[in-house]
């Protein structure tokens, strides 16, 4: 049992994480729009419906309801479906959830998990296609995770539910259907704040943020065929960031490319570049390269949209530029 796995998609792994934690701890509840139909159908068969709340379209308030419940003994998971909708809830997330422990001198804890998914590359235009994780990285008091594999999604979500602080998990809609072997152990957790070396290498480091793992690994494969040995570090947790793993990799390779789907100005890539410049400058043999989304909004036109995010080709070109 301990070492066994089951084949699950990224989204199924998330549902399993919720199921396991709801079984383990009756304080865990789930709230979201249309959850009875999307994502949580099977949970409705198993759990008391008082713990599963199909909410009206009232993001700021139902998120705040989750915060209030978290302050008073529950461990809510609030599903905000699409990442642009987090903006509507951001008052309760930022002004309340992130600050209440500090402002009460540590009297309170806020064990809430906000799930949301980035909906890019999907022909939905700018009001749906945002990837706003850097905004939340800038808020002290929040933990921000962004898994790129089914196992990491499961393990990070379970760790987030068990964590006593507010955690936002950014999922990637383009990974929802991707299947892999996922550990079944109910105590399988992926620690918050730990990056993961998804491919070891010695010539250059690619740090991938969230869903950029796929093009980053594809870029590494392509370069490997030319004898260029690239290390791929999957950031997994955006805040608090695992500086050690990144700095150790750069110390080994001397070259850093960061692939990040968010807009380049003030991106996660920017923060990583700043950290490596400050704390790992001596290891660098060439300038850091950020491969990110340019500072324009996401157009509806699909051919144009596709070009904006980091692609395998753009990542390969960035690595080549610093060899």
């Amino acid at each position: 049992m301990r070492n066994s796995t089951q084949k699950l998609s990224y989204l199924q792994a998330i549902v399993e994480a919720q199921r396991e934690e709801m079984r383990r701890d009756e304080r865990v509840i789930l709230m979201g729009e249309d959850i009875a139909v999307y994502g949580a159908q099977s949970l409705f068969d198993e759990f008391d419906h008082s713990r599963l709340r199909n909410v009206p379209i009232s993001e700021n308030s139902f998120t705040g309801v989750g915060v209030g419940a978290a302050l008073t003994g529950l461990r809510p998971i609030v599903d905000l479906t699409i990442a642009s909708f987090v903006y509507l809830a951001s008052d309760q997330i930022i002004n309340q959830a992130a600050k209440l422990r500090f402002m009460t001198g540590g009297q309170l804890k806020v064990p809430i998990v906000v799930r949301t998914s980035t909906f890019y590359n999907n022909r939905t235009a700018a009001q749906h296609a945002d990837r706003p994780y850097p905004l939340f990285m800038n808020i002290p008091g929040l933990k921000v995770v962004a898994p790129a594999t089914a196992s990491d999604a499961k393990g990070l979500l379970k760790a987030a539910i068990r964590d006593d602080d507010p955690v936002i998990m950014f999922e990637d809609i383009n990974l929802w259907g991707k299947k892999e072997e996922v550990p079944v152990d109910v105590d399988f957790l992926v620690p918050i704040g730990k990056a993961d070396i998804k491919r070891a290498g010695s010539d250059a480091t690619i740090v991938s943020v969230a869903g950029c793992l796929l093009p980053a690994l594809a870029a590494a494969e392509l370069l490997a065929r030319e004898g260029i040995d690239v290390e791929v570090v999957d950031l997994r947790t955006i805040a608090p960031m695992d500086k050690e793993t990144i700095l150790a990799s750069v110390a080994k390779t001397g070259r850093l490319v960061i692939a990040d789907n968010s807009h380049k100005v003030g991106s996660v890539a920017s923060e990583i570049a700043a950290v490596v410049s400050e704390e790992g400058f001596e290891s660098l043999r060439k300038p850091i390269q950020r491969v990110a989304t340019p500072s324009v909004h996401i157009p509806y036109n699909q051919a144009l949209e596709r070009q904006l995010y980091p692609t395998k080709e753009r990542i390969v070109a960035a690595v080549r530029a610093i060899l």
Binding site: A36, V37, I57, N60, S61, P294, H297, N301, L304
Partner: protein
Amino acid sequence: MSLDRSQQLELYSRMLRIRRFEEAIVAHYPVGHLSIGQEGAIVGACMALRDDDYVTGTHRSHGHPIGKGAAINPLMAEIFGKRTGICKGLGGSMHLTDTSLGLICESAIVGGGFPLATGAGLSIQVRKSDQVSLCFFGDGAANQGTFGESINMAAIWKLPVIYFCENNGYAVTTSVAASHGQPDIARRADGYGIPGVIVDGQDADAVYEVTQAAVDRARAGEGPTLIEAKTYRFDEHSNRLAIPIRYRSDEEIAFHRNERDPITLYRARLVAGGLAAEVEAIEAEVTCIMADAVQFAKDSPEPELSDLTDNMFSNPINFPVTREGIFGDA
């Protein structure tokens, strides 16, 4: 206050244009949220508006510009993501915003239109114009904080705004009954001290009449009105969305399609009024308009990367941000 015959024919034509436009989308470029079934509510309301009156709409955006009488070709090209589209292929299906007819926003953020429509009302009042502002919204959107916050401001300042609910019974799969403390959205008006009116959204003439009364009230400086048109969405929430369970019965859908189709009902009224020949001429014309529009959309060019930077700022400063152009990483 009712429409004359030529206005009724125009109303019929616009409803039919919405229906045929969306059927063409399904056939040629299946994206988006269809208004099929809701045409009576949309066009009935728009017939009470002037070209220069403002409108805000929703993710279910196709009906609003067509209801206001917009040219079809740029709307169809937008659906196809083309550069000749009304938003140059940047906005797409949820955002068919023809500003030449007063549309200022089709918000895919549910509830995003309430403050904007209210702000347009404020602008009208400050500029001492006699325009009005009409805010289309769904039953689900009434649960956003922006609903109450906006209507309250319009009420205290007597802004010329009509809040027009297309109550189609559902927000994605969630019924009105499951998500509203009481199911008549118009009754909420009482909480803000403004009139609330319920109307049969499948009866386009009736919708026109209540909207015209609200518009007259707004133009007279007497403030906002909340109208709730009870209507029905014939198709799925979005034709790109898989719906894994049934949340409404086949009988319910069949009843509305067969007995409550606003276009069928209106056609019968016109034909009974002796307008059969005119109706048939409109039907032939609308068929041609849609065929032309699809061809126009197919033949149109795609937008280019430069269209992205060109449309970001009215007054670009240090933009694009890198010397290399928009990417600057390679």
